[in-house]
Symmetry: C2
Subunit: 449 residues, 2 copies
């Protein structure tokens, strides 16, 4: 565009999302220029399968099959890594930073597992690594946390950040399907991959949670420190009972800050509160049906925060898909392009140099718990359960025994606890299991919100 | 803060929100500096009642009783207008721009009614006028629309942007209160002002809608062009019936873009689509109970958009209150401060120079309609209603007559129409009224979502 400042973009990976980004940049140059004041120019696109880049409309002269050509291209200011995986993608990003290029990526696994050296290099080189699309796809969530809530200390964050798991739990709830059938349905409809383990075992949610921790709590944690439980063990019986009790099951990423010793009052400079203890966990949870996240169904994503000025906030939308994800990638590209073209600090997306909070052991986490026991139907058994829980300071808020569900001499007993410490509940369950009253291991689902 | 670039802030108005902003800037300087790289310095605060500024913790030496001292202060880079109203506030903003200061304001009435000359001057002077807090309080909504969804053409926007009306409708729904009682309760609890007309008659929502139109649809409309209906006429009988039919009443701001003649396909450069027709309206509406906005209760705000890449998005949170609003004002201040300190274009918040869409006559709006008639209970009367509607192409999707509600020879008949043109529905209702079958004017509530 004549007379307008230009910023060159080099794309690495022209698959589903990469192709969507290429198509968006190529067809909306005028719109982006009008809104940003910058001519955002797709200078080069690399994919081992060049046909994919061509199919997205990239002119043949700008398509290459080797990412190194993108990284060394002097007309490229921003390298957009959309190939996925943590091997070659790591090389691409490090090479781009070494060559003095800013980076935009949607690769949560890469950042969560190898972010430490990526962000260290970016800081050294004074370059931006932007990753809006890595968490909650098309929702401008990181922008909202980092800039919209910049004056806030976030106290807690609850997120539905894996569409596959949410699709499966929604299908189990709404159609009364067992887990295996709901998973097959999700696979048939393209909401789950052939190997769904990263999604249903909580790893993908964990990757996103570690990025959210850096952004909302100024605390970069090693991915291995996360407590992660997936949804593979969720039984339809529990969803049915939960629904009867007014709850909806969700796979949640949870971060809660608990004031640390030096965090009294509105002292200057703290984050969630300086020295706060941070609980981070991915686990299936029950939400009251009236909770704002309870209505987030199917493959949608949403994140709710509680912060000390803005109070409750929720951000909702598509967590995946070609164009929703491209929407977030292009927003990052434009934000970085503005700082390339006009100067200024660019988007402030680097995680903190020094952590504001320390990670608390999950045993200290406190929540209400839904517990279900298949227990020998003998006199005094309810008292035995209650006593064992009480001995570990786990107090019972509600108890339900459903009549005549079984004919094998066992009964199904559900308990809802008051707020109780995770480690105490676990010990009480071990104590109960040792009594040889149970037909199978007890079920535990935390209640959040 | 030694060695750090500084940006001076001058505050005009130290009432509820202004006091909250002063307190936030004064107590969180370190946190904001760490996150933004800028020393954001509250250099001066003006209020006719200096005690209010002092109560917020502003040092006596920085408190003045005349806004002119703030505007001419060479240590002030950003003037923050939080006095409200459209008279003196207009003078403050224009004087600040004349003096070369950027402006941050939460004043929707000022911008909606006198934005044209304010934005013209800001553009001439290359200054920013930022107003995140003017719409939906603590929700980082304008940031999300302008930067997060920058690559999108927004197709429709539905917003609950007036907490007072939402509080009243929620109370009417949940507690089966008539309007007058719910309003009194809202006034008693501080959710409605002594003169609630700007809130309940839809004017406040209209102000916000006109700002949202500029941001999400690149179309600045004169506030007088808006179709506005408030909630004063909502009867508890209709809320009861709507609830029975599975609907929840909300006062909505609605913007819908309809493709214009030159908008075929993914042509370069269009907004919602270049030359699109834009429908803008504030009106009470019924939403399906499962709609994401239906659960937004009490004084909360939320805005849902449908856009062509990100698809559906929703942003939810506190629309008002001292600290939620301060959260948004301070986010604006920091964003502008970064461009003052480091250069760069600053946040792109100016409305478009040239409108992307043109406003369509509301008579052409299409929606489903809930209609209720108190009609003479005589043979053939349902047929007469249906015929009169059909004659104007208004087709009936559902009809309910409730037994034995009245003993005066009249019956209550509810209809739900298929999608129908506003002007046709209005003409059909005039035709029906002329038949002298009705006990009182018909009730019309649009169904959205």
């Amino acid at each position: 565009m004549p007379g307008m400042r230009r910023c060159g973009v080099g794309l690495v990976g022209a698959g589903t999302v990469g192709g969507g980004v290429a198509e968006t940049l190529l067809t909306r140059g005028d719109l982006l220029a009008r809104r940003s004041g910058v001519d955002v120019d797709l200078a080069m696109a690399a994919d081992q399968d060049v046909a994919r880049a061509l199919a997205a409309g990239v002119p043949a002269g700008r398509v290459v099959d080797d990412y190194r050509k993108v990284v060394v291209n002097p007309g490229v200011d921003i390298v957009v890594e959309l190939m996925g995986g943590v091997g070659t993608a790591h090389e691409v990003v490090m090479a781009a930073l070494d060559a003095g290029k800013h980076v935009v990526t949607a690769n949560k696994a890469l950042l969560a597992e190898r972010g430490a050296d990526i962000f260290r290099k970016a800081r050294e080189k004074k370059l931006v690594v932007a990753f809006e699309a890595a968490v909650a796809g098309g929702i401008p969530l990181l922008l909202a946390l980092r800039e919209g809530l910049i004056a806030n200390r976030v106290r807690s964050l609850l997120g539905i950040v894996n569409g596959t798991s949410n699709y499966i739990l929604t299908a189990m709830t709404e159609k009364s399907l067992p887990f295996a059938t709901a998973l097959q349905e999700a696979q048939r409809l393209g909401f789950a991959e052939a190997d769904p383990s990263a999604d249903i075992d909580g790893k993908d949610s964990g990757h996103k949670l570690s990025l959210l921790s850096a952004l909302a709590f100024d605390t970069w944690i090693d991915f291995s420190q996360l407590h992660i439980e997936g949804i593979r063990g969720i039984q339809d019986a529990d969803i049915r009972i939960a629904s009867y009790l007014g709850y909806v099951p969700k796979l949640l990423g949870v971060i809660r800050a608990e004031p640390g010793p030096g965090a009294a009052g509105d002292d200057d400079g703290g984050e969630a509160a300086d020295g706060a203890r941070l609980f981070l966990s991915v686990h299936p949870a029950l939400l009251r049906a009236t909770h704002p996240l309870a209505g987030v169904s199917g493959s949608l994503n949403a994140v709710e925060t509680e912060s000390d000025l803005a109070l409750e906030s929720m951000f909702y939308g598509r967590g995946a898909g070609r164009f929703p994800t491209a929407s977030a990638v292009v927003a990052d590209i434009v934000a970085v392009a503005k700082s390339v073209a006009f100067g200024g600090p660019g988007p402030a997306w680097l995680p903190p140099e020094r952590n504001a909070c320390r990670v608390a052991p999950f045993d200290d986490y406190r929540a209400r718990h839904y517990l279900r026991f298949i227990v020998r139907d003998v006199p005094g058994v309810l008292g035995t359960l209650a006593t064992a829980l009480g001995a570990k300071d786990v107090s019972i808020a509600a108890m339900h025994q459903f009549e005549a569900e079984r004919s094998d001499g066992y009964a199904s007993v559900c308990l809802v606890t008051h707020n109780a410490r995770e480690g105490n509940v676990a010990q009480a369950l071990r104590d109960i299991s040792a009594l040889e009253l149970l037909h199978e291991p007890p079920v535990l689902i935390r209640i959040e919100g």
